[in-house]
Amino acid sequence: MQNNFFSINRMGMYLRKEISDNYKTYLLSIALMLALGVGIALFAFANLNQWEKEIKVSHILPVYIIFFTLFIGLDASRSFNALAKTERRMDFFLLPASKFEKVLGQYLITFIFVSVIFHCCAWVSFQTYQSLVVTYKQAVMIYDWDQVFPPKFTYGNYLQLMLGLHAAFFFGATFFYRFSFPKIFFCFLIFLFGIWFINIAITNALFGKALHDWYTNLPYFAIFTGNDRMHNFAYVVPEWLGRTNLFIAQFLLIPALWVLSYFRISDKEIQ
């Protein structure tokens, strides 16, 4: 009896097919990532103040964070661009692999594969920059990671955030196949603003003029009241509720988006 949900052999064949079909695009993306990373390293080196002898890693990390976030969002939004054309859609759905394998395959490529490649490129870029500044400027690197990732927001938390961002764009990719990145980004903003506006309506109805300002609230977290410095007050959710909200965001929301993405792909038809 054949397993119609998951087979490691079929999964391997699917990944092999995907990589073989798109290897030129992948090679181009890797080259772009590497060129961008090394280019930034060279640009930073060229613009380095000659008196600067201590280079702090915390000054480099924001560039890493921005580009990693960008690449994760970009690649996740392209997860299902094969569905943009009817012929490719047919090819995607008629390939004898299970729906789960197809969705998981896209996930592995756009998150795991992209993350690994990005970090390799980032490492090469960092090593290039470090070699240049140490050799030609006689500078030293200061590894002050904790400035960017303090104990309350660790690198693990940041990766979790990226996982969430990927899940949101992955889910969005099941709706939009062309120009998906700007479309998903726009919808994501609308969704976030929507939550905030609903919260504004509720807080204004409940607190009225007692609010510090009509918009002063953080959905699921706090409401700020009081119009002068003496009487400012923040209603913060109790710790147990805050932790519950955090748990939902960390461990339920992301898998929920994966499951929804899976079912959206499973239910797709070809008109």
Binding site: Q2, M13, S20, D21, E87, M90, P96, E269, I270
Partner: protein
């Protein structure tokens, strides 16, 4: 093998394409699916291959629900669509990554089909013409050895020698356990190939007969002048005279003319039904 029961389907609410459609297709046959533009031929093929889901009723292929698109179902059915997608790779690379999904794939047969169609094995797929792509996909579909092969307008884009090669290959690949469904408007290309005819019109199957039965019950001939005493189900005038379809009362042997039959079924449905019932 293919069992469609009470199929209901519509693209838009209130405008049904299929209403209570029933169809059973058996292995060992080559079915020709005929119908006017917009009758729903491609939609029916998509229902059979699981690309569209029924609004009501069921579509089962070798006992599996087509809409579930399970790997066990997909590895035993192959669709040659009218518009093709092929990745930007060479034939051997395509073969290396796709053939493994079809357990009964016959590499030797694939190579011989390509040779018949005069396509080199190391050809780069995007550099092929539309006709060559079609021949490549047809070769792959037949070599995949799936129990069901579904083809939507397979002869579109094929040159004249390739059409005859196509007929030869299809006829040669048919086995007792294989079912081939060909949807086409180019009926003359497949006159000698199809052994069963399915005509779809007005939301349902209006005609489903074996070619043998059709030639037993109907006579296809060209006459210089129409005889008012003779029952003519359909007549088509051309330079050679009048091509006509008549009831085969005297057990005459004639060669089926699909185009004529199709027009006769659409224009004289009642009489045709009476003859076949």
């Amino acid at each position: 093998m293919i069992n469609i029961q009470s199929l209901k389907f519509s693209y838009k609410a209130g405008r049904p394409l299929f209403e209570n459609l029933h169809l059973q297709l058996l292995p060992g046959h080559i079915y020709g699916l005929l119908g006017k533009n917009g009758a729903g031929k491609s939609t029916l093929l998509k229902q059979i291959t699981g690309l569209l889901f029924p609004d009501a009723g069921k579509v089962e292929v070798f006992g599996e629900v087509a809409a579930q698109r399970n790997p066990s179902f997909l590895q035993d059915i192959f669709l040659v669509p009218e518009e093709l997608y092929l990745p930007k790779v060479k034939i051997n690379q395509y073969l290396a990554t796709r053939a493994c999904f079809y357990p009964k794939f016959d590499h030797q047969a694939f190579e011989s089909y390509l040779r018949e169609f005069e396509i080199p094995l190391n050809q780069y797929l995007p550099e092929m013409s539309y006709g060559q792509k079609k021949k490549f996909v047809i070769s792959f579909a037949l070599a995949a050895n799936t129990r069901v092969v579904v083809m939507d307008e397979p002869t579109n884009g094929l040159d004249i020698p390739s059409k005859s090669t196509f007929r030869k290959l299809i006829a040669g690949s048919l086995t007792e356990e294989k079912c081939i469904i060909i949807s086409t408007h180019q009926v003359r290309d497949l006159d000698n190939l199809i052994d069963s005819i399915v005509i779809i019109d007005n939301h349902r199957i209006i005609f489903r007969e074996a070619v043998e039965t059709v030639t037993d019950k109907l006579s296809f001939k060209v006459v210089p002048q129409l005889n008012p005493a003779e029952t003519v189900l359909y007549a088509d005038s051309n330079l050679r005279g009048h091509a006509i379809v008549t009831p085969n009362k005297h057990q005459e042997h004639s060669k089926i003319d699909m185009e004529l039959l199709f027009n006769a079924v659409l224009s004289n449905r009642q009489s045709i039904q009476e003859i076949f019932n």
